[in-house]
């Protein structure tokens, strides 16, 4: 299998906190080479202390990350990124405030060099329900939310806990499949946004986080049908936000499984790896028992 660069689409209306989240990712990149694609170098999305060098096309960021603008031609910008050496480990696309992140994601999926690794939509805790009642914005906001694999409710420090719960309930009426993660200042573990690093299959959560997350490794997985297992973990309602791991098929082939919320991807892997799966979820939602049971009964 040739390595495909995972692409994460970050959507959400203006002011939802996309910039803050991007800076959080860059600050805690910890060796990951992240390429950020922004719609335009508007009001520069990158904190100035992170910038090493910049020209019209590209901003170099401490730790090997970069930021490029794509104007109106995202596909062309992605194709340029695919030609970089070394290639970025992750591409994060900041969709414009009025873009439909699902459409952006569908375009990514067309390009052989990339794999869509999740659509993350940010919802401003204070304003999301107001925006959803705006005559001009309502349908845009709801369509953005329904496109999401993960929803990050930002700025929860500005509202009462009950209001945050109400928001979650309301969001769930428009997208019942996406886990909703509460944050302030974009503090979400990188693995939740970007997916689990390809090199490590250990419990790991990097970057400060407001919500409590659990990362759990499941090993001792017997040979089974990788597609069925991936599907069951993804749609089982076990609170899995991200999962990644290797599973051996009944024919002895190693498969790579990647999961974001209820979406999963299963591919043959080029070499044998010991079977193991890392799952990440909110601590109060991740049902380790049921996942263990699901893995144990896999055939």
């Amino acid at each position: 299998m040739s390595w495909k660069i995972p692409v994460i689409v970050i959507g959400g209306y203006l002011g939802a906190g996309k910039t803050t989240l991007l800076n959080h990712l860059l600050r805690h990149a910890d060796g990951r080479r992240i390429a950020i694609l922004v719609n335009e170098f508007g009001d520069l999305p990158i904190d100035s202390d992170l910038i090493e060098a910049e020209d019209d096309e590209i901003i170099a960021i401490a730790g090997g990350c970069i930021c490029c603008s794509f104007g109106s031609d995202m596909t062309a910008a992605l194709m340029r990124l695919a030609g970089l050496s070394p290639k970025p480990d992750y591409v994060v696309i900041e969709a414009s405030g009025v873009a439909m992140p699902g459409t952006v994601g569908a375009s990514v999926a067309l390009l052989d060099e990339f794999i869509l690794s999740g659509i993350v939509v940010l919802a401003d805790a204070e304003r999301i329900t107001i925006q959803a009642n705006d005559e001009y914005l309502a349908d845009t906001i709801l369509r953005q939310l329904s496109d999401a694999d993960l929803i990050v409710q930002t700025k929860i420090d500005l509202i009462q806990p009950q209001a945050a719960k109400d928001n979650c309930q309301w969001i769930a009426t428009h997208n019942s499949r996406a886990p909703i993660i509460p944050t302030t200042q974009g503090k979400v573990p990188l693995e939740v946004i970007l997916g689990i690093q390809r090199t490590t299959l250990e419990p790991q959560l990097s970057g400060h986080s407001d919500a409590e997350f659990t990362s759990k490794v499941f090993s001792n997985i017997s040979a089974c049908d990788p597609h069925t297992l991936a599907k069951n973990i993804a749609i089982g309602g076990f609170g899995v936000i991200r999962a990644k791991g290797f599973v051996e098929s009944l024919t002895g082939q190693t498969y790579l499984i990647q999961i974001v919320a209820d979406r999963y991807d299963v591919k043959e892997f080029e070499r044998a790896e010991p079977p193991a799966i890392v799952c990440i979820g909110l601590s109060n939602k991740l049902d380790i028992k049921k996942i263990s049971y699901e893995i144990a009964r896999a055939i």
Binding site: G42, G71, V98, M100, A106, D139
Partner: protein, 547 residues
């Protein structure tokens, strides 16, 4: 002292209300000394009498307030449109009426290509007229199996490609999951690509590079030739990205002694923050010349009605399609309008749907209270679905409107049947309502979306005939003289150029449309058939015959 030239014409329609007709016009240094009788004009001193136009009718050079210079570049590709259309060299291309005819035309062009790896590209295909026939890659494979073939639709948002093109782009595989990529029964793409994001990966392989919207030298000169053929002497490029290379090219080409048009490019709003946009456009303004009027902004607020991407107010699309897309966030629109009013920069906003128009009205009102500017002339471009109330508000706010009269002819039937339904289709591009509201109005072609031709555009607004031959919206027809005003003074006003062009009167540029007959004397249905002899621009004579 420079010598005066006095032109005699069969008739001069001046568009100057205080002297609507004349027989002579005197020109000095590329500007008009006066229009009147020979006796009156000889009072300006020595002159040469030029009788070239003795049997012609002169009008002010036409002003096209909404076109794109890429029309000039597209003619390097194969014309595949339904309607007959002439190219910059004057060759009339007959319309393509069937898939077989399309394949045949492309085969002829294919045979003329020497490089076996060169792509073959076509443009302006409009399957709406072929009973909405869906083209497949198999059709285009009949043109070539070894050469990439790509045909851009008239909308500019859909492309059909052949198998080879898909193969080169790595998209010849089953199971692609994208709303813009229809799949055949075999699970492979049919070759139809809907939307810019799915056209881009294939574009470079079929001759549509990513910068195809930017004009090049040849394209701009071809664009200018089309202007001469249609009597146009001032035209917009709405919009251009205007990077340094493009600006330098435009400055070079427009300063050529034989370049026959005044070009007014608007800077596209995308790609810069609002503050940077203002800074950039102010800098462009300082580099503007007489022939290249830089320093304006174009904002696109929504998409297109036939593409179901325009933003509509209730009750939305007639066929139940979900509402369209915003191409700019309301906050960003507001920010640009505030900054532009403050900086004194002209802004034209593309709004096709009536909700998009309403957003601009709602956004401009508070911006004007903050930055009062009674003569801003911000213009609603297309504004196809505006109702009388919106025109009244726009007029009160000091806005102008540039209606898409040609669109009504080309797609009016579709709008009636499918997109917005009979009621709203009947009042689309409601020129009568606009004029009644007092809003300054222009009408346009949006070339290359429809062919450039101000007299055709005037015909469309006067007769409101659709492609099927129906009159759609009798009550929204305007009079011939109103339409002629719209393609001269009306458009000039929306560009803040009405003090320089748009009429034949003292002090203005010597810009004329030279016509073989009188548009005010003919059957209104014949308006579009008036032959254009050529133009005079800045006192220089450009006969069509010499192009």
């Amino acid at each position: 002292m420079s010598k005066n030239t006095i032109f005699i014409a069969k008739k001069i329609i001046t568009m100057n209300p205080s002297r609507p007709e004349a027989t002579h016009v005197a020109v000095r240094d590329g500007r008009i000394l006066g229009a009147g009788s020979l006796e009156e004009l000889t009072t300006w001193g020595d002159y040469t009498l030029d009788e070239s136009f003795a049997d012609k009718v002169l009008m002010p050079g036409f002003v096209e307030g909404h076109a794109h210079s890429m029309e000039g570049s597209l003619w390097s590709k194969v014309y595949c449109g339904w309607f007959d259309r002439f190219d910059p060299s004057g060759r009339m291309w007959t319309g393509v009426k069937s898939v077989d005819a399309l394949v045949e035309r492309l085969r002829v062009a294919e045979a003329a290509l020497e490089d076996p790896s060169a792509p073959l590209s076509g443009w302006q295909l409009d399957p709406i007229y072929m009973n909405n026939t869906t083209l497949s890659r198999a059709d285009l494979d009949r043109v070539s199996k070894t050469r990439a073939v790509g045909i851009l639709h008239a909308s500019g948002h859909i492309m059909n490609v052949n198998t080879k093109a898909l193969e080169l782009a790595g998209m010849l595989k089953p199971g692609l999951n994208h709303p813009g990529i229809p799949l055949g029964a075999d699970g492979f793409p049919t070759g139809e690509l809907k939307g810019p994001e799915v056209m881009t990966p294939v574009g470079p392989f079929v001759g549509y590079e990513r910068n195809m919207l930017d004009a090049d030298d040849t394209g701009l000169r071809n664009f200018a030739k089309l202007c001469v053929r249609t009597g146009t002497t001032t035209i917009t490029d709405l919009a251009s990205r205007m990077d340094d290379d493009t600006v330098n090219m435009m400055l070079r080409v427009t300063s050529e002694a034989s370049f026959p048009i005044r070009l007014m490019p608007f800077r596209f709003f995308l790609g810069l923050s609002s503050k940077e946009l203002i800074k950039t456009v102010l800098a462009l303004k300082t580099r503007a010349t007489d022939q290249l009027r830089m320093g304006q902004i174009k904002i696109v607020v929504d998409g297109s009605i036939q593409g179901f991407s325009a933003r509509l107010r209730w009750p939305g699309y007639h066929n139940g399609a979900p509402n369209g897309l915003w191409y700019i966030a309301p906050e960003q629109l507001s920010e640009i309008l505030h900054l532009a009013l403050d900086a004194g920069i002209l802004v034209h906003t593309h709004t096709n749907g009536d909700q998009a128009t309403q957003l601009v009205l709602d956004t401009l009102a508070p911006a004007l209270q903050k930055h009062p500017n009674p003569d801003h002339r911000f213009t609603l471009q297309h504004c196809q679905l505006a109702d009388a109330a919106q025109f009244r508000t726009a007029a009160k706010l000091g806005m102008c409107v540039n209606l898409f009269a040609n669109h009504h002819f080309y797609w009016g039937d579709e709008h009636y049947k499918l997109t917005v339904g009979p009621d709203r289709a009947t009042r689309m591009n409601a020129a009568r309502s606009a004029l009644n509201s007092g809003i300054p109005m222009a009408i346009h072609s949006d070339a290359p979306v429809t062919p450039l031709g101000p007299l055709f555009t005037a015909w469309a607004a006067v007769n409101r005939i659709t492609a099927s031959g129906r009159v759609q919206g009798e009550e929204e027809k305007i009079r011939v003289h109103e339409a002629l005003w719209a393609i001269t003074m009306g458009a000039a006003y929306t560009l803040h150029l009405d003090n320089e062009i748009g009429s034949i009167e003292t002090g203005k540029k010597a810009d004329f449309a030279v016509l073989e007959s009188d548009p005010t004397a003919c059957d209104p249905m014949a308006l579009k058939d008036i032959t254009v002899w050529g133009t005079v621009q800045g006192g220089r004579i450009f006969p069509v015959a010499d192009l």
